[in-house]
């Protein structure tokens, strides 16, 4: 993380410098070029800059981010899929380099925890409803309390 003071300064000062390298897939037909452009920009938001304080490579002007974008462009032109490209970066820079955590044992709770949580909450609600119906006074008048709006 503390590889180079110069690099860090660059990074910090580059916070609001949009990372703009001209990229065109002009060797392809316009329709395919447009699709590749879209994928390029999408991937740039998913890949993380290894040297920055939480930025994707789209928003960072650090040299390594620039290198990564160039690589993404090259791999896209070579016909690699999005998964391939993410995998390529992760191989070299670790899980850190992708904002999409993999679904492995270590991240099961991350991906499935929310669903579990939701079920627990719903279960709790239904249980509470049943319990309170058993305990409370019965509602003989089912008139419109809906007047209170």
């Amino acid at each position: 993380m503390r590889a180079c003071v110069g690099l860090l300064l660059w990074c910090f000062s580059a916070l609001a410098v949009a990372a703009i390298d001209p990229v065109d897939f002009s060797q392809f037909e316009p329709e395919q070029a447009a699709r590749l452009q879209a994928r390029y920009h999408e991937l740039n938001t998913i890949l993380r800059c290894p040297k920055c304080q939480n930025q994707n490579i789209a928003g960072s002007n650090a040299p390594i981010a620039s290198d990564m974008r160039r690589k993404v462009r090259q791999l896209l032109a070579d016909g690699k899929t999005d998964t391939d490209i993410e995998q390529y970066m992760v191989e070299r820079y670790g899980e850190f380099a992708s904002y999409r955590p993999p679904v492995v044992r270590r991240t099961y709770f991350l991906w499935f925890g929310p669903l579990l949580f939701l079920f627990i909450m719903i279960g709790g609600f239904l249980t509470m409803l049943r319990l309170s119906r058993r305990n409370s006074q019965s509602d003989v008048q089912s008139e419109k309390d809906g007047e209170i709006r």
């Binding site: 609001a16 949009a18 879209a38 920055c52 939480n54 670790g94 999409r100 991906w111 089912s142």
Partner: protein, 671 residues
């Protein structure tokens, strides 16, 4: 000398509040289980004197700091670090809260302000016991933060001698209108939740909560929530035009830290409705109030302790982290302990059916709390992994979006039904036929939409849910307006009808959510981007426009040098309405004091969408790399947030939300 005076003011405030706390504690705490007799005048006098005094002292210290910034008093270390002699005066004022120490002072100032406002408004109506307890909570919080400020984050700390000749200037990113409005409004929201928190603690201490409690808490919560909504929306808008890559939400830990209290507060606003109307869910409401403010404090911790990596974070300092954590431990730990020990006394009486308004509101709460959980989990997961020694993941947009899209869409669909269910038990009414109409119209619009634009199923579902939501609102309005009979005049119709402020506010906010959803869907799926080289004088085609870099110029600002590109956009069209012609001037600024480089994007903003241009690098004398975006309907995102804010504020005006006087309780809704 001014520095010492500032410290003195803060210390004085602390002493006043501590004395206040002692007096209240001595008077009220032993008697929390009984209703105290109406010997209220001296207590009220004490309350108002203390509230106004502490606020006056805090205002004085804040004004003092502003003065130091405006007069470039670099003997103050904080001033020296965050301003310079060439900083324009309007940024000089906002620089007061541009760094850690000053932003904390703003926090405490706003807390003092809410405290003062509460006492002034509440003393006419609220029982002095309740008011005193809430005031005590707020006082304790203020004392806690003042200690934090005075011991670890003093904005009046002396610069190391020799006094610097000039300051380090404010971070260029912060030299912007956004800094002037975003933090104050955001803090109004964060800190305003302390009032709800105070009510919750008071309720737990007293061991009882009645419908009046809910009616006093509701307006304060609504206003705080409105500010928080607006503050977060402003932050998003600011990041969008400032950071140069066109994103409006990054799921950065600091952003998440603001969204969590917002979600909890939204749940609170809805849960309070049940507690108010039916006297149910008291413990849950108290819990949510505690949770919302706790998340607010947690946000403060995350942002300043260096525990999480973020572009927004203030400079990390472990000592501060420890202090805040201790503060958190006392406040959150203390309040959750109190909750665990006392909440069982807050039982309600009554029940409701599975299909009822109460159920719908509980479903709302479940969705919101789940959303809060998701953000907490995702934000803290790398921390867990690090402590367990395993590989660290980066949890960002892909994760959060995949969770929030279904959750958000689910919420929109729930809103089709929830507000139209009866309390206690829903009786068959027109709801089913309304739903059919909503589905019908929604599907037609969504299908039609799919014919005109590219088909993405999230967009289709969003359009369906949003349109259906609006239809339901319209049908409800129609029913209410027409139920008066046609003989009555229009103006009295509105006055006497059921379109009360609370109705308008609620539906405005819900509609705002639908508008936001449409904006998000449009921007996410229909944006175009191009990073390209532009040579002066040449044309370039982008998304139906013809773009020409016609001029490259330079300008000098107060503390920067700028390179400006003039971009001419033309979209010829046979139809004069869709023809467009405009000029954008994105800049690249070089700030001299901090040797930082900044991109100032140029935006052509319309309700139908933005065109966004940002400069990259100068490749040759006449050639620059440029980024161009189209951002369809992006303004709808912030429009929706604004609608939510206004809806909340409008709802406050409803008399039904106001509590009864001090000695009465609403019939039929007693403890």
């Amino acid at each position: 000398m001014l520095n010492q005076f500032g410290e003195l003011l803060l210390s004085l405030t602390g002493f006043v509040l501590v004395a206040h706390l002692i007096l209240i504690g001595w008077r009220f705490l032993p008697k929390t289980n009984q209703t105290v007799s109406n010997d209220e005048l001296p207590v009220l006098r004490q309350l108002i004197v203390v509230a106004e005094l502490q606020f006056a002292l805090l205002v004085a210290s804040f004004v003092l700091l502003i003065f130091q910034f405006l007069t470039h008093d670099f003997s103050n270390a904080y001033v020296a670090q965050n301003s310079s002699s060439v900083l324009p005066w309007y940024y000089g004022v906002s620089a007061v809260w541009g760094g850690h120490e000053g932003s904390l002072l703003l926090w405490v100032l706003i807390l003092g302000g809410w405290h003062c406002a509460l006492v002034r408004r509440g003393r006419a109506q609220m029982p002095s016991q309740l008011l005193s307890l809430v005031s005590a909570v707020l006082s304790a919080l203020t004392v806690g933060f003042l200690s934090f400020i005075l011991f670890t984050s003093n904005p009046f700390a002396q610069s190391e001698s020799p006094t610097p000749i000039d300051g380090a200037d404010l971070n260029p990113l912060l030299q912007d209108f956004g800094l002037i409005v975003h933090p104050p409004l955001l803090y109004m929201g964060y800190v305003g939740l302390a009032v709800s928190f105070g009510f919750a603690i008071a309720g737990l201490l007293l061991g009882r909560i009645d419908s009046n409690w809910a009616r006093w808490t509701r307006p304060w919560t609504l206003v705080a929530w409105a500010f928080l909504t607006l503050g977060i929306a402003l932050g998003s808008w600011w990041a969008y035009y400032e950071l140069g890559w066109g994103g409006w939400w990054f799921w950065d830990p600091v952003e998440n830290a603001s969204l969590m209290p917002w979600l909890a507060a939204t749940g609170l606003v809805h849960s309070l409705a049940v507690t108010d109307k039916r006297g149910l869910m008291k413990a849950w409401t108290v819990f949510l109030a505690t949770l919302a403010f706790s998340l607010s404090l947690l946000g403060t911790f995350l942002v300043r302790s260096g525990v999480l990596t973020s572009v927004h974070a203030f400079a990390a300092d472990p000592t501060r982290g420890v202090f805040i954590l201790a503060l958190l431990g006392v406040v959150i730990g203390g309040s959750f302990t109190l909750f665990a020990l006392r909440a069982h006394r807050l039982a309600g009486d009554g029940s409701f059916a599975l299909v009822s308004r109460e159920s719908a509101l509980i479903v709302n709460n479940i969705l919101l709390v789940t959303a809060t959980f998701i953000i907490l989990l995702g934000t803290l997961y790398p921390l867990f992994e690090e402590l367990l020694g395993s590989t660290q993941s980066s949890v960002g947009a892909p994760y959060f979006n995949s969770m929030f899209v279904p959750l958000g869409l689910g919420t929109l669909f729930v809103l089709w039904i929830g507000p139209y269910l009866n309390w206690r038990r829903h009786t068959r009414g027109k709801l089913t036929s309304w739903l059919l109409i909503a589905v019908g119209v929604g599907l037609v619009v969504a299908a039609g939409f799919g014919l005109v634009a590219d088909w993405y199923w999230p967009v289709v579902v969003t359009v369906l849910s949003a349109v259906g939501l609006i239809i339901m609102i319209g049908l409800d309005a129609k029913q209410r307006l027409s139920s008066q009979g046609s003989a009555v005049q229009r103006s009295t119709l509105i006055k006497r009808s059921r379109l009360r402020p609370s109705w308008i506010g609620m539906h405005l906010a819900h509609a705002g959510l639908a508008v936001m959803a449409i904006g998000i869907a449009a921007v996410s799926f229909y944006s175009h981007e191009a990073d390209t080289l532009l040579t002066k004088g040449q044309n370039y085609n982008f998304s139906g426009y013809s773009v020409r870099l016609s001029e490259l110029s330079e300008s000098i600002g107060p503390n920067y040098r700028a390179a400006i590109a003039t971009l001419e956009f033309r979209r010829p069209s046979a139809n004069p309405k869709s023809a467009a012609e405009f000029v954008l001037r994105p800049e690249k600024r070089f700030y001299t004091t901090r040797t930082a480089v900044m991109t100032e994007a140029a935006i052509d903003a319309r309700w139908s969408g933005d065109l966004y241009a940002a400069l990259g690098e100068q490749i040759q004398a006449n050639q620059w790399s440029v980024r161009l975006h189209t951002k369809p309907l992006v303004r709808w995102i912030w429009l929706g947030a604004l609608m939510i804010t206004i809806g909340a504020l409008v709802a406050c005006f409803d008399k039904q939300l106001r509590a009864q006087g001090r000695n009465t309780t609403a019939p039929g809704l007693s403890v």
